[in-house]
């Protein structure tokens, strides 16, 4: 028998699908995003080179930096950990590659595609929606295009990436993904009324 996969919001894996309840921006669930969590046993970039080689992409060393290759993005999480975004199907290979490169597990890769649910918000109003749930500065100076930050959003753990002026990709802890979408939908109602 084979088990089939569904996304946190109930769509098939590898797709993106619109979330129609969120009205003032274009909102999509992104089940085409997979992830690997890398944690090292010591601080700093000591392992970065080996890691980078195993991954095929360079790891950023400061908060906010997201380094991108054709098929991967590496997000700095802590001085000892990163999230690598990849195609869902590449997750297992990346985990294997890292664990092969570190037989003593000085660095460890964990499957992480399912820990977070990913959404994209597209539209000018997105910034205002985000400002209702987070302390971050969302002005282009405070949150440059291409950067990624970790912070609680609407009270739940989240990673926020700025793709362009008005396009954001957001990963929220999976078990509260539905709540997050409901929250966004509630805000967009309010937002329309307040304009």
């Amino acid at each position: 028998m084979m088990l089939t996969a569904v996304s946190p919001m109930g769509i098939a894996i590898g797709k993106s699908a619109a979330l129609p309840a969120i009205t003032v921006v274009e909102a999509q669930e992104r089940s085409d995003i997979g992830a690997v969590l890398i944690v090292t046993t010591r601080d700093g970039g000591g392992f970065a080179e080996t890691l980078s080689k195993a991954l095929g992409c360079t790891l950023p060393l400061t908060h906010g930096d997201v380094l991108q290759t054709v098929d991967k993005r590496a997000i700095w999480l802590t001085p000892r950990s990163w999230i690598i975004l990849c195609a869902p199907d590449d997750e297992a290979d990346l985990v294997a590659a890292i664990n092969k490169a570190f037989p003593d597990r000085e660095a460890n890769a964990s499957r992480f595609s399912d820990a977070l649910a990913w959404l994209t918000l597209d539209g000018e109003a997105a910034e205002n929606l985000l400002r209702q749930g987070s302390f971050l500065s969302f002005e282009p100076l405070g949150f440059p295009i291409g950067h990624g930050k970790r912070t609680p959003l609407a009270g739940i753990p989240a990673i926020i990436l700025r793709e362009s002026e008005a396009r954001w990709t957001i990963g929220v802890e999976r078990s509260r993904a539905q709540y997050f979408c409901t929250w966004l939908a509630g805000l967009t109602n309010s937002f329309e009324a307040a304009q």
Binding site: M1, M2, L3, T4, A5, V6, S7, P8, G10, I13, L37, V39, T40, T41, R42, R80, S81, A92, D104, R105, E106, A107, N108, S110, R111, F112, S113, D114, A115, L116, N128, R131, Q132, G133, S134, F135, L136, S137, G142, A154, G155, I156, E173, R174, S175, R176, Q178, Y179, F180, T182, W183, G186, L187, N189, S190, F191, A193, A194
Partner: protein, 973 residues
């Protein structure tokens, strides 16, 4: 009283008449009116009754400082039980109602009675009486009088918005001081946010005849605002800064108004690097006999009514002043075409220019004079003016404007702890030292002249960044001149002089407080209720403090002020709550197979996550359903969703040494592929979590904390690693949400697992109890543990969360013929009780150590230190007679959870007790069973104990807590 709309003037739009009602009477106003100005323009005198004495009260001021104008308001968006009329924008169809007075504010029945009572209802009179037979006899009557309006049970439907923001410079107040600061910052590149509570910038310029930089004040103001916006600055109108907090954080409340009324409120949390406090001042009233009559106004508010709203507060105005600004009011009234006013000036030598200007217009000026009393009850007919010689003259007027100087609005600085200091020159309290990054300007600092105000504003801007912009220049003199304090009229009865209009605190109450030695500012406030109303004493505090000073022979400075507390003005709780209701308050967490559970009839409970407590089966009740689920596990196979169970990967060369520091059991010897159960303590030796740890390989351990502690334990590991053992080579990866997990439990669990296509050996020998395997199940990556919480053959299988739903479905469908049923939390917990397994948090409390649950042997065997170990040998932890976990069997009646075990020799309560029933249930296999924490429990095996629960005392026997399969034959099947 007879306020009316002036023929011309004001910043209202006379082409847009608006209909509204007040207490059911149809009235008309104009776009641009506030509810206050509109009510006044319709000639309404009494708008309510005072709290204590039910005296008639009218509109008193134009803004939020009005202590009287609390009204119920219904607009096109909703109803508000109590709003300040000066803050309400008039809209078509608005309905306003008085919230005080019965049956109506004009005709109030209680007032007659309270007039008779008033000599006895002095400050603090409650403290002196109503003790006999006790307070509760009187309480209901007292409570009935309480409150302005009532929440009506409808949930407020107004939209709510929220913003986090930051800026370089926050300018609070768009009056001349704030605008001067903004103009000096022009072109500086600073990111400016300018805030004002009014619907347009300008502050006092909206009603004063000011000339700045050669143009009319408002033209200058509009230009400054336009420049600011062109510079990228943000201007927030209809916005109050309500609180100032650490880190230069501010809360703001912005009203979003449309043609139907207040449609939304937006809360801002704004952080600023520099702050310009240009919050202005409000007029201070004067205290004289019957100074609370409808028709009494603050002087500046009168100018505002006339010039901003085109409303005359009365036909003929008397102005009672101790400073020059009273003359500005008189001149504006005259210029507006009202009957020639009179000025009553307490000073002996007012500025000659002002007196002359007034007299030129035919305005009569009484110098060195005071108001002794007024004529008229619900409407003012005249004032009695007493001069220096004591001669009294009656001057007819139907409105009186008061200014006793100004009270600077220093609230925000004071919120941050800046100390108010008494300033002799302005006879007011100001903040001499402001918090770091703050700059004060204008009337908020005690300034009384427009020229100074502009200069200060400019200087404040310059203090932030030196620019070439020149200071704005005032082309006409405008101000208060010398303020000669007059705190209380020398003629008249202190019992009729009102200091705090909202709480009916009179000068005599302040004096009584002094007489009774309640002389500190705080005692005065609390004893007399001075300044405790919704206006927070804006117009009353300083007069009260000064009267207290006089009564105790002290200087005003020595009396000091009470503490200023946020918010600056009352903020609707719904706006603060924002969208954080219900799930927004604390999001419910859902398991991957949530919708399957729902369709299987799950009754969800909140265990941190939404988890099935039990599943309905053909209408069966909880007890029956739980019994069915338990039996399924004991005879066939049960499927339990274990997804929330914690999963923390601990890896690296030092992983073994590291994880061994946390658990009570010795993990130094745990072999790859093996699992051990243990508990974890804080360093005080108290248990805080339990669970299994799997050794995946020598450098990789997988900890399984309880679902409630999944995040906590990961953070706990991380904290110790970072702070205590930074050199250990260990990495911690909390991956709980990434995995969905189900448990298969029961004699047919192996059969069911086989049908889910595992790619590894699951035979009894190949996968024995307390072993761990990685592989695939159903073609997807899986982690499998053979562990048991039920005492049955049991497997826990984790797969990536995306497959969780499919795995649950597959287990139930593949297992249908094996008797597989979904099992909820309740059955699961009862199954473990049958085996005497610990349920953390139920069978342990905040004093339970590993020794108390029978793990003494495990502790003894472990040589290495672990967190909590040392504390176990502290005197009390190692003492005899502690509560220990044991089993209980009923003797005469079923045992109830939460029952107290009575101390030996007692058979009725009250009496000492020695423990409690921590878990209890009816077991299909073992009948009624229980666990209990009992003092010295391990030495009481076989003893009978008495249990008190819910009014009854029953008997039970202490026994081993293992009620089912003590040989563990099922477990190892």
């Amino acid at each position: 009283m007879s306020g009316y709309r002036l023929k011309s003037g004001g910043r209202i739009d006379r082409s847009k008449p608006l209909n509204f009602t007040f207490d059911g009477r149809a009235m008309q106003g104009f776009a641009g009116d506030t509810l206050s100005s509109a009510i006044l323009a319709n000639g309404v005198g009494t708008i309510g009754r005072s709290f204590k004495y039910h005296r008639p009260r009218g509109i008193y001021a134009a803004g939020i400082e009005d202590p009287n104008a609390m009204l119920e308001v219904v607009d096109g968006h909703g109803r508000e039980p109590g709003l300040r009329a000066g803050q309400v924008h008039l809209v078509e169809g608005l309905q306003a109602r008085s919230v005080t007075g019965w049956p109506s504010p004009q005709f109030d029945l209680v007032s007659a009675a309270t007039r008779l009572m008033s000599p006895f209802m002095t400050a603090g009179f409650y403290y002196k009486t109503l003790k006999w037979p006790n307070w509760s006899w009187y309480e209901e009557a007292v409570r009935k009088a309480a409150g302005f309006g009532a929440p009506d049970g409808t949930v407020d439907g107004r939209q709510r918005e929220y913003r986090h923001a930051s800026c370089d410079v926050l300018v609070i107040g768009a009056g001349p001081a704030g605008l001067a600061a903004v103009s000096s910052l022009k072109g500086s590149g600073r990111d400016v946010v300018l805030v004002d509570h009014a619907s347009s910038a300008g502050g006092a310029l909206r009603w004063e005849a000011a000339q700045i930089d050669g143009s009319e004040g408002m033209i200058w103001a509009d230009k400054v605002v336009a420049d600011c916006q062109a510079d990228g600055g943000q201007v927030l109108l209809n916005t109050f800064v309500t609180g100032a907090y650490e880190g230069n954080y501010f809360t703001l409340i912005e009203s979003l108004v449309d043609h139907r009324g207040l449609k939304a409120e937006r809360i801002w949390k704004l952080r600023a690097r520099e702050i310009i406090m240009a919050t202005g001042a409000v007029d201070r009233p004067l205290v004289y006999q019957n100074n609370d009559r409808p028709g009494t106004f603050l002087s500046t508010s009168v100018r505002q009514f006339i010039s901003e709203y085109g409303v005359a507060p009365g036909k003929r105005l008397a102005i009672f002043t101790n400073n020059d600004s009273g003359y500005l009011t008189a001149l504006q009234a005259a210029a507006a075409g009202m009957a020639t006013p009179v000025v009553i000036d307490t000073r002996s030598a007012p500025s000659a220019a002002h007196v002359e200007a007034a007299r030129e217009k035919g305005i009569e000026v009484f110098v060195q004079s005071q108001v002794a009393d007024v004529v008229g009850g619900r409407g003012l007919r005249a004032v009695r003016v007493v001069d220096q010689a004591g001669k009294i003259r009656t001057v007819s007027c139907d409105a009186i404007a008061l200014t006793g100087g100004a009270t600077p609005m220093i609230h925000l600085a004071a919120h941050r702890g800046a100390k108010p200091i008494y300033d002799e020159a302005s006879a007011s309290f100001v903040c001499a030292t402001l918090p770091k990054g703050w700059h004060g300007a204008g009337a908020a600092t005690g300034s009384r002249e427009l020229a100074d105000v502009l200069a200060q504003g400019h200087a404040a801007g310059q203090a932030i960044v030196a620019t070439v912009n020149s200071a704005p220049v005032a082309n006409v003199a405008l101000g208060m001149g010398d303020v000669v304090p007059m705190w209380q009229a020398k003629t008249g009865s202190a019992k009729k002089m009102f200091v705090d209009l909202q709480n009916d605190v009179k000068a005599s109450d302040v004096q009584l407080a002094a007489q009774e030695n309640y002389i500190s500012a705080e005692h005065l406030k609390r004893y007399s209720t001075l300044g405790m109303g919704t206006d927070q004493g804006r117009t009353s505090n300083i007069n009260g403090l000064a009267i207290m000073a006089a009564a105790t022979g002290r200087e005003v400075a020595k009396v000091g002020t009470t503490t200023f507390r946020p918010p600056y003005t009352a903020t609707r709780m719904g706006a603060i709550a924002h969208h954080r209701q219900n799930d927004g308050f604390a999001p419910r967490r859902r398991m991957p197979a949530h919708s399957d559970h729902a369709s299987n009839g799950a009754q969800f409970e909140d265990f941190g996550w939404q988890r099935p407590d039990w599943y309905t089966k053909n209408g069966s009740d909880r007890e029956a359903a739980v019994g069915i689920e338990m039996t399924a596990v004991r005879t066939g196979v049960g499927v339990f969703d274990a997804s929330p169970l914690g999963k923390v990967e601990v890896v690296g060369p030092d992983a073994r040494v590291f994880i061994n520091k946390f658990y009570v059991s010795n993990l130094a010897t745990l072999k790859p592929g093996r699992i051990r159960y243990s508990v974890m303590c804080h360093d005080d030796g108290i248990i805080f979590d339990d669970g299994v740890v799997a050794c995946v390989d020598d450098n990789f351990f997988l900890a399984g904390p309880t679902s409630g502690n999944a995040e906590t334990v990961g953070a706990w590991f991380e904290r110790w690693r970072q702070t205590e053992w930074p050199d250990m080579a260990v990495a911690i990866a909390p991956v709980t949400s990434n995995w969905a997990a189900i448990a298969l439990a029961g004699p047919k669990a192996r059969d069911l697992l086989a049908r889910l296509s595992p790619d590894f050996d699951i035979s009894g020998e190949g996968f024995a109890h307390m072993h761990f395997r990685e592989g695939t199940i159903g073609g997807v990556p899986a982690r499998a543990a053979r562990v048991s919480f039920t005492g049955e053959l049991q497997y826990e299988i984790a797969v990536p969360a995306r497959y969780g739903q499919a795995l649950m479905q597959a287990a139930l469908s593949e297992g249908a013929d094996l008797g597989a049923v979904p099992v909820g939390m309740e059955a699961w917990l009862r199954l473990r009780l049958e085996k005497g397994y610990l349920h953390l948090g139920a069978d342990t409390n905040g004093r339970t150590t590993p020794l108390d649950i029978g793990m003494g042997g495990v502790v003894m065997k472990k040589a290495a230190d672990f967190i909590g170990k040392r504390a176990l040998s502290l005197p009390y932890n190692a003492s005899e007679g502690r509560e220990e976990l044991v089993g209980l069997k009923p003797v005469d009646a079923p045992i109830k959870i939460g029952g107290r075990i009575l101390a030996d020799g007692y058979a009725q309560i009250p009496c000492p007790s020695i423990g409690n029933v921590t878990s209890a249930c009816d077991s299909p296999l073992a009948g009624n069973i229980a666990m209990a924490l009992i003092e010295g429990g391990s030495k009481r095996m076989g003893e009978k104990v008495k249990i008190y629960a819910e009014g009854k005392i029953t008997e039970a026997e202490v026994c081993s807590p293992v009620f089912v399969d003590p040989q563990n034959e099922r477990l190892h099947a």
